[in-house]
C-alpha cells in the first residue's frame, strides 16, 4: 500500500512542476534555516560539557557591591585553590588559570624573531586533571608540573614548528625567557569557554610558587567530590574567605561575596566581568529558537495553502478513488505520504545546501556547524522524526479537506473548496505578519546601529590609530613621539591606558578635600597630550602642561597632583563646571588632587551604558596604547612612515596599528551580527511567503480565468484585472501589517531597553518594512494576473 502511495505521490509531484517547485524551494529554505539555527543553538548549549564530571566542576566568582550596584567578577585570588583543597573536604581537585593576555601580549621567539601573541595563559599542574582535554603528546600529570614548561595547541605547534609531535622538547623564548615544550594538546574545542594558544606552567610565574590573597587576578575552578552539596560548599567558601581575607576587605571598605558558578553555565548564564571568552546572551538563543520555528511554520503554511487551493484540481481523482472503494483513512494516507515525500526531498536538499554553506555560516556567525551531528544515529533518528512530523503537519489539513469530499460532487467537479477559506486566509495573515514583523525588527536594529555609528561621541575617532605600548618603552618614548611628529605622520600623540572607546579602570573618590561624597569613578591614565590627541572639548579650566607631575613621581599621598574631570563627575560632586576648577579631591592614592579642568562628557564606554563620572590624570606608566592622530589625507602613506620609524626605534616589538573607529565598530559586533541575522531571516521569510502568495494567486487566477476573460471582453484593462485579484489579498496583508506594527513596537521597546543611549523612535522602519512587503506582494500578484490576462478570451470562454 505504502509503495503505491509513494509511487502515486511521486508521479503527482512530477506532473505539477510549478506547485512542486514552489513547495520544494520554500520547504528547503525553511528547513535549511531551521537546521542551521538548531545546530547553532546546540553548539551554544553544549558549552563545557566535554569534560568528564563536568557537572561537578565550578568556577569561583566574586560579586562586588557598591551603592546598590553590583558587579560580578570571574577572577579571584591565587591562594584560594590551595587553601580550599587543604581545608574543605568536599573539594576533590581544583585548578587555576592566569590569563596573561588581558594584561599584555607576549613576544614569542622560536629563533626567527619576535612574534606577538595574544592568547597566552599560565595554569597549575592540576589543569589537565580537572579539564581533561586530549593531549597529543605528553603526560597530563607532568606537562605543567615544573617551571618553564609550555603546552602548545596543535595548530600553534604547527605554526611554529610545522609538526605537532616533533615540537615536543624544543625551546621557545617567551618575553626573552626560555621555555621547553612539554606537550601538545588538541586545539581547544569551539564550545569550551577556555581557549588559548599557549598554556605555561604556573610555577614559572613569579606568583606561581607563592600563593597570595591579593590581587584577584586568577580564574579558579574546583571539582567537588561526588555527591557533595554545592550549596554547602559555597557556605564553606564564604567562611574561608572570611577567615583569610575578611580583615583586608573590611579595611578597604569593599563589600564582596564569593560564589560558585557551574562550569556549564559560564557561557550562557550570568555574565561576569573579564571572562576568558565573551559569553552569549541566552535571550538571543531563545529569539533564534522562535525564529527557527517561525520559518518552519511559514514553509509548512505554504504547503498547506497551496495544497488546499489545489484540491479543486484534484477532486475528480478523489471522487474516483472513493467510487472504487477508498476509505477516508486510505485517501488520507495517500495525501500525507505526498507531503512526507516532499518533506523528505526538501530535507535531503537542505542537508546538501547546509553542507555547502557551512564554511560561510561559520565565518559569519563565529560558530562552526557540526554536520557530523546530523549524520549520527541520534541525528538521523531526529531527522526522520522531523520529516514525519513536518509531513503530517503539512499534509494534515489538505488531506482532511480532500478526503472529506463527497464523491458524486467531486466527480462532477462541483465541489468548491470554499469551506476552508478562513483557515487559508489566517495562514496567509500569519505568514505576512511574521515577514513584516521580522523586517521591522531588522530596521529597528539597523537604525540603532546607524545611530551608534554616527552619534557624536564627544571625541574624534577618525584618523586615530592605536599602537601597543609597553612599560618597557618608557625610556625612549619622548624620542619616539618627537621622531613621529617631526616626520609629519602625526599631528598629536598621547599614551593612554585604553582606547577612548572603552575605558575600563575603576577608581573611587573618597571624602576629603573639598568633597565629602564617596563614589565610584572611572579613571583614565594618560599623558599630557590626551586632550588634543583625541580632541576632547575642554569647557572650563586648563589642559595638562609639562609642569604637571606624573603619578609615578608622587612620593607622598598628600603631594599636589592634578586631574581633569568630566561633566558627570562634577555633577556627582554637586558642583557647577566653573566651581569645580581649583577644587581638591581625594583619589585614594592621592589626597590632594586639584581639579585643573573639565571636559564635556564623552562616551568612554559602550552605548549600552550611560556616561558616568570620569577622572583623567597623568599616569603614563599605566599606558597600554599609544594614540596617534594622523593628519588628513591618505592614512596608508602616514602608516608606512610610522612603520619605518617604529621598526627603527622599537625593533623588538611588532608594528600592529589598529584604527580606533574600526575597533569602535568591532565593539558592536554582536549587535551587528544580530542585525545581520535578523536581516537574513526576514529576507528568507519574505521570500518564502511571496512564493506561497505566487502559488495562491496562480490558483485563484486559474479559477477565475472565465471571469477575467469576460471582464476583458467587456473592456477591462490589465490594471482593473490586477486590482480585482489583488483586493482580496491586500486586505489580508493590511491586517497582517497592523499586527506586525504592534509586534514592532513591542520589539523596539524591549530590544532598545539594553541601550542607555537610544536612537529616536521613528516610523520609518515601519513604513519601509510594510512598503517593501506590499510592493513585493503586488508585484507577485500583478505578474501572475498578467499571465491570465494575456490569454485569448475566445479560447478560455469556449472551453467552458
Amino acid at each position: 500500500m505504502w509503495k503505491n502511495y509513494l509511487k502515486v505521490s511521486f508521479r503527482n509531484l512530477q506532473k505539477r512542476k510549478l506547485y512542486t517547485g514552489i513547495n520544494l524551494l520554500g520547504l528547503t529554505i525553511a528547513i535549511v534555516s531551521f537546521l542551521a539555527i538548531c545546530l547553532y543553538i546546540n553548539h551554544e548549549w553544549s558549552y563545557d560539557r566535554m569534560y568528564s564530571d563536568y557537572n561537578r566542576i565550578y568556577r569561583l566568582n566574586q560579586e562586588f557591591r557598591s551603592e546598590g550596584e553590583s558587579q560580578l567578577v570571574s577572577s579571584t585570588p591565587s591562594s584560594l585553590i590551595p587553601t580550599l583543597i587543604d581545608e574543605v573536604p568536599e573539594v576533590e581537585n581544583g585548578t587555576l588559570i592566569f590569563d596573561l593576555s588581558i594584561f599584555s601580549s607576549v613576544m614569542i621567539d622560536s629563533g626567527e624573531g619576535n612574534q606577538e601573541e595574544k592568547s597566552f595563559a599560565y595554569a597549575d599542574e592540576n589543569f589537565f586533571e580537572v579539564f581533561d582535554f586530549d593531549l597529543i603528546s605528553g603526560n597530563p600529570n607532568q606537562v605543567l608540573s615544573e617551571p618553564n614548561q609550555l603546552v602548545l595547541t596543535k595548530s600553534t605547534a604547527e605554526r611554529y614548528f610545522g609538526n605537532a609531535i616533533s615540537s615536543v622538547g624544543k625551546a621557545l623564548k617567551v618575553d626573552n625567557q626560555d621555555y621547553i615544550i612539554s606537550g601538545v594538546m588538541e586545539d581547544f574545542p569551539s564550545n569550551s569557554h577556555i581557549d588559548f594558544d599557549f598554556i605555561a606552567s604556573f610555577k614559572t610565574h613569579r606568583h606561581g610558587t607563592k600563593p597570595e590573597w591579593s590581587p584577584s587576578n586568577y580564574y579558579n575552578y574546583v571539582k567537588l567530590k561526588e555527591g557533595a552539596d554545592p550549596q554547602g560548599f559555597e557556605g564553606k567558601l564564604g567562611q574561608i574567605v572570611d577567615k583569610y581575607l575578611g580583615k583586608d576587605l573590611a579595611e578597604y571598605g569593599y563589600e564582596t561575596a564569593f560564589f560558585i558558578q557551574p562550569v556549564t553555565q559560564i557561557h550562557l548564564g550570568d555574565q561576569t566581568l573579564g571572562s576568558i571568552k565573551p559569553g552569549s546572551d541566552i535571550r538571543y538563543i531563545y529569539i533564534f529558537g522562535v525564529v527557527a520555528l517561525l520559518l518552519i511554520a511559514i514553509g509548512i503554511i505554504n504547503y498547506v495553502n497551496l495544497a488546499t487551493a489545489e484540491a479543486t484540481e484534484r477532486n475528480k481523482e478523489v471522487g474516483l478513488r472513493k467510487a472504487m472503494g477508498a476509505g477516508r483513512g486510505q485517501l488520507f494516507g495517500q495525501f500525507v505520504s505526498e507531503s512526507m515525500l516532499l518533506t523528505f526531498a526538501s530535507t535531503v536538499l537542505s542537508l546538501m545546501v547546509l553542507y555547502l554553506i557551512s564554511p560561510k555560516f561559520a565565518s559569519l556567525s563565529g560558530v562552526p556547524l557540526n554536520l557530523d551531528l546530523v549524520v549520527s544515529p541520534i541525528g538521523i533518528a531526529l531527522l526522520i522524526a522531523f520529516i514525519v512530523l513536518i509531513g503530517i503537519l503539512a499534509g494534515l489539513y489538505p488531506s482532511l479537506i480532500l478526503s472529506g469530499m463527497e464523491p458524486i460532487k467531486a466527480l462532477a467537479n462541483k465541489t468548491k473548496v470554499g469551506g476552508g477559506a478562513w483557515v487559508r486566509k489566517s495562514l496567509v495573515v500569519f505568514q505576512f505578519f511574521v515577514s513584516i514583523g521580522l523586517l521591522i525588527s531588522t530596521f529597528v536594529v539597523k537604525s540603532q546601529l546607524d545611530y551608534m555609528k554616527e552619534v557624536n561621541l564627544g571625541y574624534d575617532k577618525e584618523h586615530l590609530v592605536s599602537l601597543n605600548y609597553h612599560y618597557n618603552m618608557r625610556e625612549g618614548i619622548e624620542t619616539i613621539k618627537n621622531e613621529i611628529l617631526r616626520s609629519g605622520a602625526a599631528t598629536s600623540i598621547s599614551r593612554a591606558a585604553d582606547m577612548p572607546i572603552h575605558i575600563k579602570a575603576g577608581y573611587k573618590i573618597f571624602p576629603g578635600g573639598d568633597n565629602q561624597r564617596e563614589f565610584m569613578i572611572t579613571g583614565y591614565s594618560v599623558d599630557n597630550d590626551i586632550i588634543q590627541t583625541i580632541d576632547l572639548d575642554l569647557i572650563a579650566g586648563n589642559n595638562f602642561s609639562d609642569s604637571d607631575i606624573k603619578r609615578s613621581d608622587l612620593e607622598e599621598r598628600n603631594e599636589h597632583f592634578t586631574a581633569i574631570l568630566n561633566e558627570s563627575a562634577v555633577k556627582e560632586m554637586g558642583w557647577t563646571v566653573e566651581e569645580a576648577i581649583g577644587k581638591t579631591i581625594n583619589l585614594g592614592f592621592n589626597e590632594n588632587t586639584e581639579v585643573k579642568g573639565v571636559v564635556r562628557d564623552f562616551y568612554f564606554n559602550s552605548l549600552h551604558h550611560q556616561v558616568g563620572p570620569l577622572v583623567i590624570f597623568n599616569d603614563p606608566d599605566q599606558a597600554n596604547v599609544l594614540l596617534i592622530k594622523l593628519p588628513e589625507g591618505d592614512p596608508s602613506k602616514h602608516l608606512s612612515t610610522l612603520e619605518g620609524i617604529w621598526e627603527e626605534l622599537v625593533p623588538e616589538r611588532p608594528f600592529n596599528p589598529v584604527f580606533v573607529d574600526q575597533a569602535y565598530n568591532q565593539m558592536y559586533s554582536s549587535e551587528q551580527k544580530s542585525g545581520w541575522i535578523f536581516g537574513l531571516f526576514s529576507g528568507i521569510a519574505i521570500f518564502i511567503a511571496c512564493m506561497g502568495l505566487f502559488g495562491l494567486v496562480s490558483y485563484v487566477a486559474l479559477r477565475r480565468t472565465r471571469e477575467i476573460s469576460i471582464r476583458k471582453v467587456l473592456g477591462a484593462t490589465q490594471g482593473n484585472v490586477v486590482s480585482v485579484l489583488a483586493a482580496d489579498f491586500l486586505k489580508l496583508l493590511s491586517f497582517a501589517a497592523v499586527l506586525a506594527i504592534g509586534f514592532g513596537i513591542w520589539f523596539s521597546k524591549s530590544w532598545l531597553q539594553d541601550f542607555a543611549n537610544q536612537t529616536e523612535p521613528s516610523i520609518w522602519p515601519y513604513i519601509i518594512a510594510i512598503g517593501i512587503v506590499f510592493s513585493l506582494a503586488i508585484f507577485t500578484i500583478a505578474y501572475r494576473s498578467w499571465k491570465v490576462f494575456s490569454l485569448n478570451p475566445a479560447k478560455t470562454l469556449k472551453s467552458d
Binding site: M1, N4, K7, V8, K15, M324, G325, Q330, I408
Partner: protein, 227 residues
C-alpha cells in the same frame, strides 16, 4: 436482491421542490442485466448513483438482500460498497497518473488484497481483454475503447456481484461500443448482475430487462426476450 421502495430525490429551491426522482419502486433480482433508458434529465444517472451507494441523499427505503441500506451505519455501507459494486463511467475516469496495470490494481489495494493475489487477478484480466502488451501504458496513450476496457477490468477486478455502468459506450464509436457490450454480455453469462444507463436502444438488446424512464418516474418496465 435489490429492492427500492418509494424513492424520492429532490432539490429544494427557493420556491418549490424540484423532483429528480419521484416514487420509484423497483426490484432487481440477482443475475439480471437491466438497461435504464430515457431522455436526458429523466433521472437515469441519479438512480444509478443511488443504487451504487454513491448518493445517500434521498427519501425512501433501499433494501439490499435483507438489509435496509438507509438504516445502515457508514462503516457497514462502506464495506458493502467495496465488496458488492463495480462502476464503469461514460468518461472512463481512469487515473491519469497511473498505468493500465496500476489503474486495475487500485481497487484491489483498497480491498487489501495480497500482492501475489493481485498479480494473478490482474494478469488474468489483462489476458482476458488482450491488453498484456499495454499494461505499462498511461491512459492518454490508449484509444477510447481501450480505456473503457481498462475501466471494465478495473470495475470487475474486485469481483463485485453488481456492475453499474453509466453510458459506458457514450464516448465510443459503434465498433468499439459493440465490443464493450459483448464483454458485458459475457460477464452477465458468468452470473454478474449488470445495471446500465444508456441512450442507445441497441445496447438494451444485450440485456434481459428494459426500464424506460421519464421525468423521474419509471414509465415502462419490460422483459427482453432473445430470439
Amino acid at each position: 436482491m435489490i429492492q427500492l421502495k418509494e424513492i424520492d430525490k429532490f432539490i429544494e429551491s427557493r420556491f418549490q421542490r424540484i423532483f429528480i426522482l419521484k416514487g420509484i419502486n423497483l426490484t432487481i433480482n440477482e443475475g439480471e442485466f437491466v438497461t435504464l433508458m430515457g431522455p436526458s434529465g429523466a433521472g437515469k444517472s441519479t438512480l444509478l448513483n443511488i443504487l451504487g451507494l454513491l448518493d445517500e441523499d434521498y427519501a425512501g427505503e433501499y433494501w439490499f438482500g435483507d438489509n435496509n441500506i438507509t438504516k445502515m451505519k457508514d462503516r457497514e455501507r462502506s464495506s458493502l460498497h467495496k465488496s458488492e459494486f463495480g462502476y464503469i463511467f461514460q468518461a472512463y475516469h481512469l487515473i491519469d497518473e497511473l498505468t493500465v496495470y496500476e489503474n486495475i490494481e487500485t481497487p484491489l489495494l483498497y480491498r487489501k488484497v495480497s500482492s501475489n493475489e493481485r498479480k494473478s487477478i490482474i494478469a488474468n484480466l489483462l489476458d482476458r481483454f488482450n491488453m498484456v502488451a499495454k499494461k505499462d501504458l498511461f491512459p492518454a496513450q490508449l484509444s477510447g475503447g481501450q480505456q473503457q476496457l481498462v475501466g471494465i477490468a478495473r470495475a470487475i477486478a474486485g469481483k463485485p456481484r453488481i456492475l453499474l455502468a453509466d453510458e459506458p459506450t457514450g464516448n465510443l464509436h459503434s465498433g468499439q461500443a459493440k465490443e464493450i457490450m459483448e464483454v458485458f454480455q459475457e460477464l452477465h453469462q458468468e452470473g454478474t448482475t449488470i445495471i446500465q444507463a444508456t441512450h442507445a436502444r441497441e445496447n438494451a438488446d444485450y440485456g434481459t430487462r428494459l426500464i424506460q424512464m421519464l421525468d423521474g418516474k419509471i414509465d415502462q418496465d419490460e422483459v427482453i426476450t432473445h430470439v
